[in-house]
Amino acid sequence: MEDLGHVDPAAIPILADELNLSKADVHGVVTFYHDFRQSAPGRTTVRICRAEACQSVGAAGLVEQAKNRLGVGLGETTPDGSVTLEQVFCLGNCAIGPSVQVGDRLYGRVGPQELDRLLEVTA
């Protein structure tokens, strides 16, 4: 999963067999956690924090901006497979938000221009 970035539904019976669990058990785990995706993510995942502290400094605007610029909704991947846009509830950077995570990398005080720059680099 860490290598592929997703669990293909077709792999669930195989995983279940390997781990000696029922298909329902594996399906249950895969669908419960937000981090387990069932389709391949884009080459870069951009997560915008939508929790309270970031809301108070303009997170909602950033979400709209990212959707418009990428032409996708939250949880979706751009058609060329470059970027997956996601929401996240708190990145632990609440004093200097709005916060955005690109891959494993955290960014703080992200204004509209900074977001444009981040999205440009990932495109």
């Binding site: 058990d25 249950g28 785990v29 419960f32 956690y33 937000h34 981090d35 387990f36 929790a51 309270e52 502290a53 970031c54 809301q55 108070s56 400094v57 996240v88 509830f89 708190c90 990145l91 632990g92 950077n93 609440c94 004093a95 200097i96 938000g97 916060s99 995570q101 494993d104 955290l106 960014y107 703080g108 005080r109």
Partner: protein, 515 residues
């Protein structure tokens, strides 16, 4: 030419605003004249990246430093601690920091987080050494006497929990650290793990000794890759020094410690859900009893404590229960690591004794909003915590006082909003969040939250207002009464507090407001 030590934080908040580039520029431009140490953050987050220079008179701070400032700073005599428009003076004398009482965070920002020598030079291991010289019962008694209560939210006395685990018969017991830190507006767990990881390791080893446990797990949320990496590196270093593993500190005591990474689900911060997740299952909440202290991980007696709870234990054991219990008010003893966030001018870590008022935190330390507009609402205690108006700024930060006000201290997060906030929108978000993160076990939580969003939308749209307000009220009641855990049980807290304190935002008529 002597080499000068320059500190540039490796904390992910500091890195999020350019600390890596600043460190690189300093190293490149100063060359052999400087030794760059990547410390934790001092917690003055609005000043990050905050650079410190070691001088004969102590450490001198500069901030916020951008990569482009570096050349100018070096020219002005950064390495001698010289004056500059970004100079903040001696770090320890910055009033914001000086006026705090740093206990749990005493070493954060001071030391190199991954240097075991730095750790012991700053008092590290004194707590564990003392604990190992005492019987487990004595350690439990000391933690009980300190009055330490769980910092994860519920405030349950740590000593009582430990006593239950100590008294449970089993050949295998566990210590699990809850580092899921899912509450929005909180980041102290992360900063302790990134800034002083050995403190958490030491605290867990003490807990293991005190309760007869031999294995420990730290459950860290996946949103914190830096904390995961730092904890793993610190655990490796601790094994290499004989602080973990067989014969800890050459005593007849074995303790093995592992890191596990969460899967991006808020509910996994609830302790029984976390245990399910640690066992590799869906993070569904378990009904209690049995309590985890008796039947926890894999059915064995298990201590589950928050990072800050376990991180406070080394200091308590080193300095004695009385030193800790001497701080605070009422039944809230010791210090709390408050986290100021949101729309705030001076956000960051304020560790201080319980009893400070909300207003002193928000206006005093925080300096009001970052936008410069008036403060309108403050949410304390995470996404399940109440929204409070400025008229409640007199409230002391104390578990009981907050409970009496229909609010909660929780994990100590304080999130500030200015006068542009729409409180009906915030109430709606609380329901939306609950709907997204519910584990699905109980109907009031799983379905109620979805209904809550719809009802708030109707109220705001002015459809059958009074009938729908009643529906919302009934729904809140049902969720409070009929939920297995605090996810569904406390979601009504932000909703109701928003309604109570800010009725006008829900399109209320003036007549309704008076009621």
């Amino acid at each position: 030419m002597t080499e000068v030590t320059v500190y540039v934080p490796r904390d992910s908040a500091a890195r999020s605003v350019g600390a890596d580039q600043v460190a690189e520029r300093i190293a490149a431009a100063a060359g052999p004249r400087a030794r760059v140490v990547r410390n934790g953050s001092r917690g003055l987050l609005w000043l990050e990246p905050l650079v410190e220079v070691e001088t004969p008179a102590g450490r001198v701070a500069y901030g916020p430093v951008t990569p482009d400032d570096v050349e100018d700073l070096l020219d002005a005599g950064l390495l001698d601690g010289a004056g500059h428009r970004l100079c903040l003076g001696p770090t320890e004398e910055i009033a914001w920091l000086r006026d705090q009482t740093r206990v749990t965070f005493a070493r954060v920002g001071v030391i190199d987080p991954l240097s075991p020598d730095d750790y012991t030079a700053h008092g590290g291991l004194a707590g564990l050494r003392r604990a190992l010289s005492l019987a487990p019962e004595q350690v439990v008694a000391e933690v009980t006497d300190s009055g330490l209560r769980g910092r994860g939210g519920a405030g349950f006395p740590a000593g009582i929990k430990w006593k239950t685990v100590l008294g449970a018969e089993s050949d295998l017991k566990f210590v699990c650290c809850n580092a899921d830190e899912g509450d929005s507006g909180t980041f102290a767990d992360r900063m302790l793990m990134e800034g002083d990881p050995f403190t958490l390791i030491e605290g867990m080893a003490i807990a293991a000794w005190a309760t007869g446990a031999s294995e420990g797990y730290i459950y860290i949320r996946s949103e914190y890759p830096d904390a995961v990496a730092t904890m793993r590196a610190a655990i490796d270093a601790a094994y290499a020094r004989g602080w973990l593993g067989k014969r800890v500190l050459d005593q007849d005591f074995t303790f093995d410690l592992f890191v596990r990474v969460g899967g991006g689900a808020y509910i996994c911060g609830e302790e029984t859900s976390m245990l399910e997740s640690l066992e590799g299952k869906r993070g569904t909440v378990r009904a209690k009893p049995p309590i985890p202290a008796l039947e926890g991980l894999f059915g064995r007696p298990t201590v589950v404590n928050n990072v800050l709870t376990l991180g406070s234990v080394p200091m308590i054991m080193a300095d004695g229960a009385e030193a800790f219990a001497g701080l605070g008010v009422g039944r809230s003893r010791g210090t709390q690591v408050f986290q100021l966030g949101g729309n705030i001018a001076r956000g960051g870590i304020v560790e201080t004794a319980f009893g400070i008022t909300l207003g002193e935190l928000v206006e005093g330390y925080g300096g009001g909003t970052r936008s410069g507009r008036p403060v309108r609402a403050v949410q304390v205690g995470g996404p399940l915590g109440a929204y409070l108006p400025t008229s409640r700024f007199d409230l002391p930060m104390d578990y009981e006082a907050f409970a009496a006000a229909g609010a909660m201290v929780g994990h100590g997060g304080v999130v500030v909003f200015d006068d542009t906030v729409d409180m009906a929108g915030q109430a709606r978000f609380a329901m939306e969040f609950c709907a997204a993160e519910s584990c699905g076990k109980c109907t009031p939580c799983r379905i109620g939250a979805v209904r809550g969003v719809e009802v708030i939308d109707r109220i705001v749209a002015g459809e059958n207002r009074s009938a729908n307000l009643k529906v919302l009220n009934d729904l809140c009641h049902l969720m409070t009464e009929g939920s297995l855990c605090a996810m569904g049980g406390l979601t009504p807290m932000p909703v109701r507090s928003a309604l109570t304190h800010f009725p006008g935002d829900f399109g209320a008529t003036s007549e309704e407001e008076r009621r």
